[in-house]
Amino acid sequence: MHRLLDVGLEQLTAMVYKMGEVAEKAISISIRGFVNGKDTTESVHEISDILSTMTVEIENKAFELIAKYQPVATDLRIINSYMKIAYDFERYGRYAWDISFTHKKLARLDKCAGPSGLMHKLFEKVSEMVSMSIRALKQHDAELAKTLAGTEKEVDELYFAYLEQLAEAPVQNKGMMCNLLVSRFLERIADHTTYVGESIVYIATGEKISLR
């Protein structure tokens, strides 16, 4: 039975998926820019603004649905969670911009990633987590969402391993400072993907769990 609420939910869902794709794009642009020494601040900034607007639109849509239809059970969980997820996607975009900006400001677009394998591994893992979170969202796949927990642990280990490496480095330079900050941003992005995962589990099962 197609309810009036279903029309609104479809619209809301489309908005959230779109936002996820846009956020994913922002991250991949900024990471590529970092690795290849390109200036991506402008394009990422633009995307970040778009993401802010989308957050507001999604919130408004959610409030509209709540006020009009007084949803309960699954419907309420979906709407509630989409608002949270929108915030997390906005954070993806924000950190993406932080990465581009730090790269430009601090390291003057040097290819700071350097020979260190850890940074590359971090980039890989985090990109993987971002796309997993969006896939799990589209399929409302709680199991896939739960696997983010394991990957987050790996990211944490990589992060701390890298910090140790930096701490023992013989020479400190701007490139390394830049890497330090960027690894922190990556770690935060990973955290947010787990929040998205938690929201997905909540939608699918109604359970409130922690994936960290």
């Binding site: 039975m1 309810r3 609420l5 007084q70 949803p71 309960v72 059970a73 699954t74 419907d75 309420l76 969980r77 099962t205 109604g206």
Partner: protein, 269 residues
């Protein structure tokens, strides 16, 4: 006319320790050959509001009418099972249904104040005609009941007005005051707001939340959001069977049964 001796008297009932005021055990009810309720096992916690929801014809009204022994007044009706009030079966042989109805009060869907009586007489009617409070200060009790029902301030200047001359929402609160005057232990409400406008409905809902401090309330409603607003526990009935029972928050956030989910999200009926 012989008065049966009630095995259950108000003064010698043990307060229930488990927090359950009323309970049904394997309750079945029929109207002639048609079975309206099938093996209902549900409990109603003390000083809490329990909502009974479900689509039309699912047996909600029949269920609460079994709780105050009004079901048997319908010709051709049948009943089996037990209904416990403070642990004692209200359908045990020798129990006087009239006594049960004084402990379990009821408010109906359409406000029904007694047509020939004033506001004062309506509230006092229960007391006067059951002889329960002979010699008690009727004025005090009437005032207290109307205050409890949050109607006192609106009618205190003219209690001699006809009970039917006030608005629908006020009449419903009058009926609640009338029921409360007998100081029942349980108050049953059969869709009390469906004949009222939104403002009157809001007032009654506030009243219900207040009432649970003193009484155990069971409310039948077809308005999901109302059930979510006022009740602590919810029972979902479908085609005469209890599908799910739980605390209201869980049922409305994450129901265990798929049928419940379908019903409360409006995907059927």
């Amino acid at each position: 006319m012989t008065r049966k001796n009630a095995n259950i008297g108000k003064d010698n009932a043990e307060p229930s320790s488990s927090g359950v005021k009323m309970q049904t055990i394997d309750l079945n009810a029929w109207f002639g050959a048609k079975q309206a309720l099938k093996d209902i096992n549900v409990s109603f916690k003390t000083n809490a509001v329990t909502a009974i929801i479900g689509p039309s014809g699912c047996g909600k009204s029949t269920l609460i009418r079994c709780l105050n022994r009004m079901h048997e007044l319908v010709p051709g009706s049948r009943f089996s099972g037990q209904v416990l009030l403070d642990g004692e079966d209200t359908y045990a042989p020798g129990v006087d249904p009239v006594m049960i109805r004084r402990r379990v009060g009821m408010v109906f869907q359409k406000p029904n104040p007694f047509p020939t009586m004033s506001i004062y007489d309506n509230v006092a009617a229960g007391l006067k005609l059951t002889g329960s409070k002979k010699g008690r200060d009727l004025d005090k009790v009437v005032r207290w009941s109307l205050e409890q029902a949050t109607l006192w301030d609106e009618v205190k200047d003219d209690l001699k007005k006809a009970g039917t001359s006030i608005s629908g929402g006020q009449q419903q609160r009058l009926c609640i005051a009338r029921a409360i005057a007998l100081q029942p232990e349980v108050i049953l409400m059969d869709e009390p707001c469906s004949a009222l406008d939104p403002i009157a409905t809001a007032k009654i809902e506030e009243l219900i939340v207040k009432l649970k401090e003193e009484y155990t309330v069971v409310i039948v409603t077809h308005n999901m959001q109302q059930a979510a607003r006022v009740s602590d526990f919810t029972a979902f009935l479908y085609l005469g069977q209890l599908v799910e029972y739980g605390d209201t928050e869980s049922i409305f956030e994450n129901p265990r049964n798929e049928l419940t989910e379908k019903y409360i999200t409006g995907k059927f009926g």
